[in-house]
Amino acid sequence: MIEIDVSLARNTGFTLTAQFTAPQSGVTALFGRSGSGKTTIIQMVAGSVRPDQGQIRVGDEVFLDMAKGIDLPIEKRRVGYVFQDARLFPHLSVDNNLRYGQRRARHAHSIGFEAVVDMLGIGHLLKRRPHTLSGGERQRVAIGRALLAQPRLLLMDEPLASLDEQRKLEILPYLERLRDDLKVPILYVSHSIDEVLRLADTVAALQDGTVLACGPLADVLSRPELLPVLGRFDLGTIFDCVVKSHDADLSLSTITFADGELRVPLVDRPVGAPVRARIRSRDVSLSLSRPIDVSVTNRLAGTIGSLRREGGPYVNVEVKLANGKLQSLVTLESVDRLALEEGMPVWAMIKAVAVDSRSPTFPVQNEPFNPPSHSAGPNLRLVAGRSLPPGLE
């Protein structure tokens, strides 16, 4: 486990009191608006910022224990740090940048040079100097450099924030591959819900220097009390699904999960691949009877679990399904008109499903097909765009 329990008061008035535990595997996203203390927390884990009080442990290694006077120097912590601005050494070639940490790693090397260079697709850049690289290339080299230092933990501070949309889409598959192929746990700082959905297993939601919630992604993102952090219209329900079938003629795929099936725009993943479906609360409407004459394809039966008044005209309704639950955002007027109350059976009609890939994205060329570019139907939407990195088509 990664255990963090720290507090810090800056003379600027900023205070941070963070306590959470993250699994020592997979990707843990520190999610929140700028100024919420995300970066400060990982700087503390790296050792470049010292809290006033607290402890940081990774597994059985104590990084910091202010009460006992333990503060491991940065270079002894073995954390790989990928900065927002890459921070490559401008006087060294890409090759020597990559080897800087590798040369200083004294223990057995489990992450090999060739493997990293291959995985990140940077073999053709080795002789170049950092200032000749594009933003995306620089960030890939920075990731490789951090990995080759043989870290026990990888810290990523908004590694995509300084890149344009095109470059982000170019790098995301590499990050997915990193997550799936290597056993290094990752702490990932981000304010982008899309990145978090695509990469994270665990989410710690931060606001104003405190951790509001920490847990598995699907749990945290469906908690109504996190509305202020996540933003009303980003809140939703996450289902881990599997691709069941494709219908190329209709440009639809069917994905299944514990509570049924969803029809979504053609997913560019093979049958059997795990995907993550995200259903925003405002895309779910409710019906008391089985909806027949409606255009909405995706309908799930359930019972109302709870009603919660939100700001303005809105009420958040939690619908219990056989196994999971679903959030629906309706108006107070509708609640009154339908006389909705706890325990009532309802039909949830889902107007849109966003599908995020969750599985190793490589090798792409083995996939049964690539969907043609098409516009999504009026009721269905594919949010996470996916383009292939150069050299992988």
Binding site: A46, G47, S48, P73, I74, E75, R77, R78, V79, G80, Y81, F83, D85, R87, F89, P90, H91, Y100, G101, R104, A105, R129, P130, H131, T132, R145, A146, A149
Partner: protein, 230 residues
């Protein structure tokens, strides 16, 4: 241009003094520049002031202070002389010390600016990759501040070539030992037919200064290209 043997001696001596004072200046100037740029401690202001004292004091005062500390009968000089038989008086070594002391604050300033310009974040990156503080300094900070070191060295050279007051007060004006170009020009102006000599040495001074500037500019470009800044 033809110089008299006496003038050649002064030119050669000036170059020798400037070269060695610069060489001796660099390591402590890098250390002090780093301390001023990257550390905070009580009394830093006083330390900063002490480093800059030779810059603001009259050079004659600097020379006099050197005389009463490092002179054969000075506070420290008497032991140098008594124990090791070393004397700086009237020697090229003494002229080198005077030039080094006077140019030290300017050199420190140039290097301090260069260290200020090196992103601390890059040093942090090196530390997360397993480099100790000292390792990160020698493999990252030092190479990145090379342009600053170069300009510090140039300032040190120029200031040593022009040193007059401290030298003449501390080690006097001895031909072949301490009579550098400025001292030779000074002497020439006191001689009945010294005008031509003073003029020739003045022209040499201008050529040396220009040459140093041009060389430094070329080296600076090369270093910046190597660092990827151009």
């Amino acid at each position: 241009m033809l110089l008299t043997p006496e003038e050649w001696t002064a030119v050669a001596l000036s170059l020798k003094v400037a070269f060695w004072s610069t060489i001796w200046n660099m390591p402590p100037a890098i250390l002090v520049g780093w301390i001023l740029s990257r550390t905070e401690f009580p009394g830093k202001g006083v330390f900063d002031g002490l480093v800059h004292l030779p810059l603001v004091l009259p050079k004659v005062v600097v020379g006099y202070v050197l005389l009463i500390t490092l002179g054969t009968r000075g506070y420290l000089g008497q032991y140098l002389y008594g124990w090791f038989g070393l004397s700086l008086m009237f020697t090229t070594a003494g002229a080198t010390v005077a030039a080094a002391v006077v140019s030290f604050p300017l050199t420190v300033n140039a290097i301090r600016l260069a260290i200020d310009g090196v992103d601390k974040g890059i040093e942090t990156a090196a530390r997360t990759l397993g480099a100790s503080k000292i390792d990160a300094f020698f493999t990252v900070t030092l190479p990145l501040m090379l342009p600053g070191i170069l300009s510090g060295a140039l300032i040190s050279l120029a200031s040593a070539l022009g040193e007059f007051g401290a030298t003449i007060t501390f080690v006097s004006n001895v031909e072949g030992q301490t009579r550098t170009i400025p001292l030779a020009i000074y002497s020439a102006t006191h001689m009945p037919d010294g005008d031509a000599m003073a003029l020739r040495l003045t022209i040499v001074s201008v050529i040396l200064a220009l040459g140093a500037l041009v060389l430094a500019e070329m080296a600076d470009r090369r270093i910046k290209i190597a660092l990827g800044r151009v």
